[in-house]
Subunit: 363 residues, 4 copies
């Protein structure tokens, strides 16, 4: 499908998620990594030096990438020369500054796939999980027209909801409308970046609080499940989500304990399991390189999914579910799990990038 590899870049390349992007893009069939950008104090150094002492991943990074120079995030000129698409894993405390930084890339004609939360609620910017709302990409035309951008911006949602939202969507796709969801997440430390969670806060401990996480977990699904209006997404109504977010001493892999209530028609357990096992969507149909073959894997064992044992399912891109059982208060309970820095961050971002290419938004 792709005759020449598309040159891509990473903004925030030295952080936890940035390093994961590097790892996943190192041998990508469609993309070639040609541009690395980070904050001013990394700029000018070779990547090897910029991550010295803060390298997180076991996998060795190819020498060619280790020797790439790191540019400043503000250096749009070089980015525009070097690549056509950037994956943004920038961390900036100021939301407006982050939006403006990403905007400059779109102005310069680049496609931006962002992990950052700054633009998630911008009206004309789609928040995408490719298996769920690929149709929201249509917003890009309006976005470019309104803003006069030759490039574009799309964002991916928070990592905390990746473990259960696709399974919920699969049920709705199968015709079972949900009304209420109570979800408790047990989230891995890699989700907090590096240095992130202090070891003294999490060893032999659990922290029942992650700033801003519950709000994102409750609200972002409504935009993702929303419907396209002319120039914006109308958030899904009639569905209420309540979230309890916890940090647990796990390296990678967010787990979600979910209780759900259906609006009218209630599926049987077998109908639910079938809806999950058979679920396929556009990324599978397009055979995108990072798409999991089976997006939702149901494990029949009593005690699965588990973070360490299931996070790497289908190279970390599948969601694993299990323990479907009746809920005394609602209709059903289940457990979901996904890899937070692959499916929930860099891998999910790359899948979004692949979708942009396959749909003709990046050439």
């Amino acid at each position: 499908m792709i005759s020449h590899k598309i040159p891509v870049g990473i903004l925030g390349a030295t952080g936890m998620v940035g390093q994961r992007y590097v790892q996943l893009l190192a041998n990508h069939p469609w993309f070639t990594l040609t541009h690395l950008a980070a904050s001013a104090n990394s700029a000018g150094k070779p990547y090897r030096e910029a991550i010295a002492g803060r390298s997180h991943l076991a996998d060795n990074i190819p020498t060619a990438i280790l020797e790439l120079p790191v540019h400043a995030v503000e250096d749009i000129t070089n980015a525009a020369k070097n690549c056509r698409l950037v994956f943004s894993a920038i961390e900036l405390p100021n939301k407006t500054a982050l939006q403006e930084t990403e905007n400059t890339y779109a102005v310069a004609g680049l496609a931006v796939v962002s992990n950052a939360s700054a633009h998630r609620w911008t009206e004309d910017i789609p928040m995408l999980i490719p298996e769920i709302n690929a149709s929201h990409l249509n917003l890009i035309t309006a976005q470019q027209k309104q803003r006069g951008w030759s490039g574009c911006i799309i964002v991916k949602p928070n990592c905390s909801l990746q473990s259960y939202l696709t399974p919920l969507y699969a049920l709705e796709q199968a015709g079972y409308t949900l009304s209420d969801v109570v979800v408790t997440t047990l989230q891995a430390i890699s989700g907090a970046g590096y240095p992130g969670v202090a070891s003294l806060d999490i060893l032999d401990n659990v922290v029942p609080y992650i700033g801003g996480e519950e709000e994102k977990t409750e609200q972002e699904p409504l935009k993702i499940l929303g419907t396209m209006a002319e120039n914006k997404i109308l958030p899904r109504t009639g569905l209420t989500i309540s979230a309890h977010c916890n940090r647990v001493p796990v390296i990678d892999g967010h787990l979600a304990c979910v209780s759900i209530r259906f609006k009218d028609k209630k599926p049987t357990p077998d109908e639910i399991k079938n809806s999950w096992q058979l679920f396929r969507s556009l990324p599978q149909q397009l055979n995108l390189p990072s798409a999991p073959v089976q997006p939702i894997i149901y494990r029949t064992e009593d005690n699965r999914p588990q973070p360490r044992k299931d996070r790497d399912a289908d190279k970390g891109m599948a969601v694993t579910v299990g323990r479907l059982r009746p809920c005394p208060v609602f209709d059903y309970k289940f457990v979901g799990l996904s890899h937070n820095t692959i499916r929930g961050a860099a891998g999910g971002g790359i899948l979004n990038g692949e979708l942009l290419v396959a749909q003709g938004f990046v050439k």
Copy 2:
């Protein structure tokens, strides 16, 4: 109040909970530890030898106790000579066998306070949390009469519900009736005994399943909140609980994420916090030695309670709550925490024993 110390024993003295009983009884103002019993292969050994290589607690056990001989659990004759009250932490796979073993102690005139689950649903045996349903002790008279026992049996409930049931009860006591509870527990490894959870199953991992635990967490509160009929407890109706139980890599301390809905009258956040902070009950009025001064402690920090930092509150006997906030699906959400082998096991058992003494059931 107590002029002579009451001689007490421990059944299952070598296990995780048994060792905690030993630690807590070592310097008890009312009880003196005179009898230790365990399975046949420990019987005949001094306690020091019976726990060699499987000693779990940092605190040193007094030499006098280390030298006590361990008896077989079946040796009722010596138990009856040695003590008047036994704390049972027996683990037996067969429920009937466990019931019969405990019954023989009651037949022999001893009071039995059991941690085991075997008798929890026996009709004429009260399942007690002293702050909640001390009145259920009245069942003992019927129990002794019906069964011809000179002794008696009371049981304490599962450790998983101690972190949230007293806070719920305090709200109901304050006049706010609950209808629905969805609770997700994050439970410590010490709850599984020793050797219990294999390290390969829990390091860098979470296990979203504990056999039988969700059923206990959902059902036992209904008996505890039930009302006394002539010879039995009528379980509470109109309250539904749904539980998700997880094992996490924490040594001690069960945490619960709770969403609650009230039946009619809904308290304000301040009314809830006041109901908790001001809650006192019979153990406090009687000034029982193991009773926490303030049974429910509300922490105002965003990120509390936490197992390692709050489990030892008031010597491990208080329940710590925090993070009270609105629940989009129900009315409120909060987090509760208690020490599972103190409040939830040995400490809770001893408080029950103290209540038996204070109420005249053990003399």
Copy 3:
């Protein structure tokens, strides 16, 4: 080199190391996995069922292997029909019984590559690290002749010494003879099998004792570094090793802190690093499928190697060293690390099997 794949089996296929063998043999270029054996209570079940609830590895095992029937270890007849080489990861408390079990396979004409310790000190059985003492394979001829075996047995050494012995050997190969070694190991929990180390023993803890491990760490290197006599190995003399073995809360990867003294000629730090970096041996020359390209990798960072970050170097088959510095008491200090269930167990066993094939001992 290999025109038809060689059928191989695993003895003790359901344990920790057995599962790692299955994983590594699933797509092996020379071997095809045709026979699985385990203890009597697994025999007769498909492998899927035999490991249900005790599956340790994240990687999915191919369905064809999951459906293989598990045989009893005692069932030599079927083993001899099914395969020509077996990897033994049997755990039996009785050393003689273990030796006799492995012998029956050699009698039946199979080559046995054993992870077990039973035969490590049997005079005519070589204990092999292919990069160090491949020449000891010559002992097989004597072994077969003396015992009348058509098959043969070779063993691999304990996992605890793999992190530092190849680096020490590389120095001696470069002409620098060692006289004294003091080594402290920090060993992963997977080395103890499953269920192995109880989580209550290792979370927020370290155990400074592993039964029998220090003796193996001190003695086995002397046989490996020994010289071939007619029918046996004469252990290396003039080298003394002292070991302190600790269990630490790490999933995989044994780390060794090593102080070394040379006999006469002392290399410079650069000579040592060069000896390590340039070290290649027979497995590399023969291009064995599991041989690491570079058996010893020197990391220049201050704080490496680390178990989680370096254990998977070259698919878990390389040894990573670092922190070479002067030792005030001896000559030098350094840190070594290897993956204990890959290089130190199943991967090391497979490399031995490949060497047997390449040298013509298995056809």
Copy 4:
């Protein structure tokens, strides 16, 4: 002995060690905590507020202390008004600045007991472990005279050596002179302060490097074991120490694996154990409040000492040793353990303070 409690302060009161000082001084029989100092951004706040969100210890701190105002470390005037002795747990990157800060307190007439490393090698400042070199306190007279101080400064050594130096000293006191020590430490994360070690660096991992720690571990014992000259300590000669320092995922408790060689006379194992068990020193003779009754506890179990099980021995002030056995390279091997933030930091500092009082240097 003490008719009025002595008012004391803590410099660096909000850090990890500072909080431990607060906890240990809260109910001290000789000292009353009257002054808290920290960096400028804590100054002016009540202690409660200054530690909000970075409170590490489970034990509740008395309300009276939580309400104490925090002063700036530079505010000597108030310190001199408020107290007569300060415990310094200041962390400053610049060694000279730290020395000068502590000096200003001595100039102002206060006694300073410092945990910081800045003054450890200052010639006229003693580095004290009260059980070992209380006689070095005589240096204070010279110090005061030379410098014109009405106050004084003493320091305590690094936490890494507390687990094995007292046991080594006890052997020398018993007449067995040591010549060589190779020690590998497994050190707890609390030793790095807060936030200190990132969880991503230590969960499922070990870090074989702690900046500057090996040098301290090798050199500081020589000053402690040194002999008094007129105005300085002559470091011990004839003893060489080599250290390997590792960070492990343990909350509190440093463990040391030690190999030792004696110069001439070699004790038997029983002589060693007796030397340890019977060792008593000046703090025990003076019955100082924080002195452990038995400074060195020998555990006979194969697998002790262990950090979680032994760190709290005698309120965290005793050193626990075990596993005495022959060393093939040197004479003996053993394992030592101590609580790094109690014996190795705040508790050790307070014991030094008590010694100053008992010896008349603080009145």
